[in-house]
């Protein structure tokens, strides 16, 4: 309260209201509420066998009702035939005789009254049976539905680690995201250093523009352009074959390589800019001082530039990793069936499998893993939140 009133004294009522309402909306509406909802969903577990029993019972009841309707219709017809004193011989022969129930599909065509009466009794007995079966189904359904009711439990979480199809994809996604982060770091550090230290003002502006322009295009389209570059008769394969580096087209898309390339490309800016921003604040005299004291170039980077740029490197790595681990469009478009991403599995749980609880649990595990990764990076680079905020 005191903080609010001092804030208000400094910035006025309108800005104070805006900031605090905005913060509250953001915190509660965008972070806390959705997460809580997701956690709650993920903790509701419904037994798949019980669910299957419910749908089986329902289907069987449906079938019984269909049979019952058909039998009742037949009983009515047979009784009409009996009153008419025997069923019509056949439709095609009895042209002049009026028979309102006659049809080409009359099973009892040409039957005698005795036969018809026997058929009627048989049908009535069956109808009684059907009613018993429906009643039995209804009571079974109540029990099955009770069994299939979602219950509180951690089974959704255990499911991921006992699922031999999804577990490897989860670990592969984490590992591949780390790989994407590393490749992006190796690609981006020299670019960021060049932009911040060596390039003239005009070159920097031009290169920045070059980096940003592709981002004016939608991510889907950018990824699609990689699809064209990497396809088996795409530009890259044609070039490789043209200069004789490959005999046959390389199948980039069967493994993970297309996905990795696409992701490094998609998230390059998120790595370049944080590093560029920190390297830019480095006193360039320190680089010259190190050089003057005899340091070779790699050592200047290792001892002077990288320690200074650590917060930027940490931020870049965290952002790239998070985006890569949560990426959906790139793996869907550039991946193949053998290079599924964990996000695709989560998507399937929600929209194909209809198991929101399981999907929520998967998503939550991914979130926790990403948070652990961030904390690990911060420990590894010995940076704290204040450094990153800078």
């Amino acid at each position: 309260m005191e903080a609010i009133s001092s804030f208000r004294n400094r910035y006025g009522a309108i800005l104070t209201t805006y900031v605090f309402v905005g913060c509250a909306t953001w915190l509660i509406g965008m972070i806390v509420a959705p997460q809580l909802l997701m956690v709650q969903k993920s903790l509701m577990y419904s037994d798949p066998a019980a669910a299957a029993a419910v749908s089986q019972t329902k289907a069987s009841t449906d079938r019984l009702f269909v049979e019952k309707g058909r039998a009742e219709r037949e009983v009515r017809k047979v009784e009409a035939d009996i009153q008419a004193g025997g069923a019509a011989e056949a439709d095609q022969s009895g042209g002049g005789v009026f028979n309102p129930f006659g049809s080409s599909g009359n099973q009892n065509a040409g039957a005698s009254v005795e036969e018809l009466e026997a058929r009627r009794d048989e049908l009535i007995a069956r109808l009684g049976q059907i009613d018993d079966e429906i009643a039995a189904n209804d009571s079974a359904l109540v029990d099955a539905e009770k069994a299939a009711q979602p219950r509180l439990g951690l089974q959704n979480y255990f499911e991921l680690f006992s699922n031999d199809a999804n577990r490897p994809i989860f670990f592969k996604t984490i590992w591949s995201s780390i790989l994407v982060t590393l490749i992006a770091l190796i690609v981006c550090y020299p670019v960021a250093f060049y932009l911040a230290v060596s390039a003239s003002k005009e070159t920097t502006a031009l290169l920045m523009l070059g980096l940003i322009v592709p981002y004016w295009v939608n991510e889907i389209l950018r990824t699609f352009s990689w699809l064209m570059l990497l396809s088996s008769n795409g530009l890259i394969n044609q070039a490789l074959i043209g200069i004789g580096l490959a005999d046959t087209p390389i199948d980039w898309r069967s493994g993970n390589s297309a996905v990795l390339i696409g992701m490094v490309y998609a998230y390059i800016l998120f790595m370049v800019f944080p590093i560029y921003n920190t390297v830019e604040t480095l006193d360039k005299n320190q680089i010259e001082a190190a050089r003057d004291l005899g340091a070779p170039r790699w050592m200047i980077h290792w001892t002077v530039v990288i320690p200074h740029a650590k917060p930027g490197i940490a931020v870049g790595c965290i952002m790239t990793f998070m985006l890569a681990a949560g990426s959906y469009a790139v793996p869907v478009m550039l991946g193949s069936t053998t290079s599924k991403w964990f996000t695709e599995i989560i998507y399937d749980q929600f929209y194909e499998g209809g198991n929101w609880g399981l999907g929520s649990a998967y998503a939550f595990v991914l979130l926790i893993t990403c948070i652990l990764f961030i904390m690990m990076m911060m420990r590894l680079f010995r940076v704290n939140l204040q450094d990153i905020a800078k």
Binding site: D283, N285, E288, A289, R291, D292, L293, G294, M299
Partner: protein
């Protein structure tokens, strides 16, 4: 021991010539200063000697070896930056030992050498502090120790005292001089502060607009300036413009708005040349009609400033030019009222006639 030679060194950045035809020899073990206003090219010369810039023309030799194509990391020079450029993420001793670490010395050797240097700069036992915990003067000394750790033949200092306050600056002057004498390393010192250059240096090069105006000992620079720029940039001087009407016995007679004045003719000007006469304020006397001085100019008192041990007399000459006299504070000044007539005298040997070129 290695001397440094600049052989016709020129450096151009596009159309701009930062340094023009510099010829110079700095002796081994010398404390040599480059003095000049900002933008005169002194830092550029320093960067060429240390290897961060290559001359467009001419050669730089250290110990007789041409330095062309040799990078800053391979030269026997160490540079102390204006802002010191200490590494803020390293401790004091790691800073000092950086050059040794680069050379692959073991950690214990690095530490031992750093501690020795810390003793030398009078900061014993401070090695484990961070640079940010030190005061300005202490950082200064750490920067010197870091540069000396690699045992350079030449230490290059780029206005290292400019960020310090006056007291500390004066203290560090003595400290720098003492370190230079103790180590015997050649110091090349860049400054725009003439006090620093004159008090510390064995020799001074005065620079203006990319050119060396004069290279000489401090007393020579002060007493016998060779150009109008040096005369006015180093210390105070009263300029009187005119032209030469007679030369004899190393003296020149000039016709000026204040009458005919005599001065030394160090630059061998000839009759008819446009010239400037310079006379230091402390070499002038209030003449009081006694005569005896070769030059006497009539002026009116403008004002008197009491500085303490001496008094500044500001007078205005017949041509409207200002004339300053430093009087010792043991004279009768009662008659020096505003607008009073005053005769100012000075001897011909104390004044110098120089070509009428750009003043500072």
């Amino acid at each position: 021991m290695k001397n440094i030679e600049l052989d016709n060194v020129t450096l151009r950045f596009g159309d701009f010539t930062a340094v023009r035809n510099a010829n110079l020899e700095i002796k081994a073990g010398e404390f040599f200063s480059f003095l000049g206003p900002s933008g005169c090219g002194k830092t550029t010369i320093l960067r060429m000697i240390s290897g961060f810039n290559e001359p467009s023309e001419g050669a730089i030799r250290i110990g007789g070896q041409d330095m062309a194509g040799i990078g800053p990391n391979d030269r026997p020079t160490a540079l102390i930056f204006q802002n010191l450029a200490l590494f803020p993420l390293m401790t004091v001793w790691e800073n000092i030992a950086y050059g040794l670490r680069v050379r692959g010395l073991s950690k214990t050797d690095q530490r031992r050498r750093a501690d020795e240097l810390l003793d030398m700069i009078a900061l014993p036992g401070q090695g484990d502090k961070m640079v940010s915990e030190l005061s300005g003067g202490q950082r200064q000394r750490v920067a010197i120790a870091r540069a000396l750790a690699v045992e350079p033949a030449v230490l290059l200092l780029d206005e290292p005292l400019s960020a310090l306050d006056l007291k500390l600056r004066q203290h560090m002057r003595a400290e720098l001089r003492a370190i230079q004498q103790r180590t015997g390393v050649t110091f090349i010192y860049i400054t725009h502060d003439q006090g620093e250059a004159l008090t510390m240096s064995d020799r001074v090069a005065v620079m203006s607009q990319g050119e060396l105006e004069q290279v000489a000992t401090p007393s020579e620079i002060y007493s016998n300036p060779k150009t109008a720029f040096v005369a006015t940039f180093v210390g105070e001087n009263n300029p009187v413009s005119g032209h030469i009407i007679d030369v004899k016995n190393g003296h020149a007679v000039m016709d000026t708005a204040m009458g005919h004045l005599r001065a030394r003719n160090d630059r061998n000007l000839s009759v008819g040349d446009k010239a400037m006469l310079f006379i230091r304020p402390e070499r002038c006397q209030v003449a009081n009609g006694e005569g005896g001085k070769e030059n006497v100019v009539s002026t009116k008192v403008e004002r008197l400033d009491l500085e303490g041990s001496y008094i500044n007399l500001f007078a205005r000459g017949a041509d409207g030019g200002r004339f300053v006299v430093h009087m010792t504070n043991n004279q009768d000044i009662a008659h020096l009222q505003h607008n009073a007539d005053v005769q100012i005298g000075f001897s011909a040997d104390e004044a110098v006639a120089l070509p009428a070129t750009q003043m500072a």
